[in-house]
């Protein structure tokens, strides 16, 4: 893969046919995508889909079987030390041995990166992280807070998070999502792997969907949601004729029972909402699509 032309800004991440086999077992195959500077990119897939394999290959912890990955225009294998100077990484389950405290871990990382601990202290206060107790004595969530600090404290240009909110309590999850927004504002690219569609929807600009080691789609989040069918349930104040709803393009599986109408809707929901609003409504629910429903959308399209 050629590097960026003079004057052209290199993508934060650019993979080309990235493939990793563990012996004969496929980890990922032909994964090609790019993440631009200042972009938050979600990497969505179920457990075992290849999200962590992709991340570990980007970090040069795994050597690709085929294909290549470039980070800021640098080769992920040959230039990995220079790349890692500019990135922050949070593994899925942050670990650093049992005996060392968060402060000891951060002190060593600060020395390796040639930075101070000012921002680490600031982040520890913000997250309520305990840097003094041995990491082995912390709960998973509190250990993950220390992990977040190790990823963020040196103000990297690219953040890589592997299932970052697992183990975090809801308040801390909110704090994390806010922080991702702040990092984007700063111009930092963020690569977040997750199996939570809700999390990806709230924070990401684009999303890559991976399953069985293959990247099956890369979409803007708004487009992804538009294409995915969602389940709707409306409780009208009085019985209504559902024919007008049924006639709206994208509406399917409609059933009406007394005042209650349920259906699925794909694409734009604007016409649906307007039609419903013509009648007095007691309750309205538009269910968030599950990850499986998202995958189903793409499988159906692939088979066509």
């Amino acid at each position: 893969m050629a590097g960026p032309a003079p004057g052209e800004r290199a993508a934060a991440i650019e993979t080309d046919g990235l493939t990793k086999f563990y012996g004969r077992e496929r980890g990922i195959e032909n994964v090609t995508f790019s993440v631009e500077a200042g972009e938050v990119f979600g990497f969505l897939g179920p457990n075992g889909a290849g999200k962590t394999t992709t991340i570990r290959t980007l970090l040069d912890l795994l050597h690709p079987t085929r294909g290549s990955a470039r980070v800021f225009g640098l080769d992920s294998g040959r230039d990995s030390v220079a790349i890692r100077a500019r990135i922050g990484n949070l593994p899925g389950d942050f670990g650093y041995g049992r005996a060392a405290s968060g402060r000891e871990a951060l002190s060593l990382l600060a020395r390796l990166r040639g930075v101070g601990l000012d921002r680490a202290e600031e982040l520890a206060r913000r997250f309520g992280a305990d840097l003094e107790r041995p990491l082995g004595k912390l709960s998973r969530g509190n250990r993950q807070k220390v992990g977040l600090i190790t990823a963020l404290f040196h103000r990297p240009d690219l953040l890589i998070f592997d299932e970052p909110t697992s183990g975090l309590d809801p308040l801390m999850q909110e704090e994390f999502l806010a922080l991702v927004g702040e990092e984007r504002e700063r111009g930092c690219a963020v690569f977040v792997s997750s199996h939570e569609l809700d999390e990806v929807e709230r924070v990401c600009d684009r999303v890559g969907i991976i399953r069985g080691g293959r990247l099956i789609a890369v979409e803007r989040v708004v487009d992804l949601l538009r294409r995915t069918r969602r389940k709707a349930a409306v409780e009208f104040a009085a019985p209504v004729d559902p024919a007008a709803l049924r006639a709206i393009p994208g509406v399917a599986d409609l059933t009406a029972e007394n005042d209650r109408v349920t259906f699925s809707v794909g694409g734009d929901v604007d016409a649906v909402v307007k039609e419903i609003a013509r009648h007095p409504v007691a309750d309205f629910q538009l269910a968030h699509p599950t990850l499986e429903e998202v995958f189903l959308t793409y499988y159906v399209e692939e088979r066509r």
Binding site: R56, P91, L108, G147
Partner: protein
């Protein structure tokens, strides 16, 4: 790199107590009881078959240095130090991989070669520290019991263990190039350690099998407490240990970091 070495040494502080203290106390006990058993020993040793004495480095046991050599420095200290060496190097690499620490460190701008070099250096310092603690306690035991152990000779005896043990650390790094499981690294190298000791023993017991000793680092170990440190053997074994660590670092660089 010094920060990385210091950090690893901080974590291994306990080994000074866990390894240096028992080895030192055992050695101190050996030299402390020597004056009271000296005569009985001399009589008993005269009855031993010469081949057995040669094989186990028993000698005449007419000095406290010879007694310390036979009881501690010919078997227990080198085997314990060799095992400590591989355990130490494994904890810095395969142990770190198992705990997730390696992922964190290798997310920083740190090359794998530098990581391996610092782990090996930390092991070398840890070994020297443990041997120094054992030596200090041994000398203290001699002083208290009035055994008259020579400082220079015992220094040579304990110092001579260092390159031998370091070789097994180097071997541990090589195995880490293939496996990041601590049990595999320590188990296989401990097996080699014992096999090398047995090969040297067999070669010494049977002159017809002397050639087998060339496969063992114990052939180059000698009896430094009596004969002084052989500088060629000391430097040679140290060089082989460093070469093995360098080979291991090259293998480690090529491998995937996954347990």
């Amino acid at each position: 790199m010094s920060g990385l070495i210091r950090s690893q040494l901080d974590e291994r502080r306990r080994s000074l107590l866990a390894w240096g203290l028992p080895l030192g106390l055992m050695s101190a006990l050996v030299v402390a009881i020597y004056p009271s058993v000296q005569d009985a020993l001399a009589t008993a040793i005269r009855e031993y078959p010469p081949a057995l004495k040669e094989a186990f480095g028993i000698g005449e046991l007419s000095t406290v240095e010879q007694y310390l050599e036979a009881e501690m420095l010919s078997l227990i200290v080198p085997l314990a130090a060799g095992y400590l060496a591989v355990r130490s190097v494994a904890s810095g690499l395969s142990g770190a991989a198992e705990s997730g620490r390696l992922d964190v460190l290798l997310s920083a701008p740190l090359s794998r070669r530098r990581l391996v070099a610092s782990g090996f250096a930390a092991t070398a310092i840890e070994l020297a520290s443990v041997l120094a603690v054992a030596l200090a306690l041994t000398l203290a035991g001699s002083l208290l019991a009035g055994a008259g152990l020579s400082v220079g000779s015992s220094l040579a005896g304990f110092a001579n263990v260092w390159p031998l043990a370091l070789l097994f650390a180097g071997l541990g790094v090589v195995v880490t190039g293939w496996s990041l499981r601590t049990s595999v690294v320590t188990g296989s190298v401990a097996g080699v350690l014992v096999a090398m000791y047995v090969a040297d023993l067999v070669g010494r017991l049977d002159p017809g099998l002397d050639w087998i000793r060339y496969a063992s680092v114990f052939r180059y170990y000698g009896r430094a407490i009596e004969d002084g440190v052989d500088p060629v053997a000391f430097a040679g074994v140290t060089a082989v240990a460093v070469a093995l660590a360098a080979l291991g670092a090259a293998l480690f660089e090529r491998r995937d970091i996954s347990v």
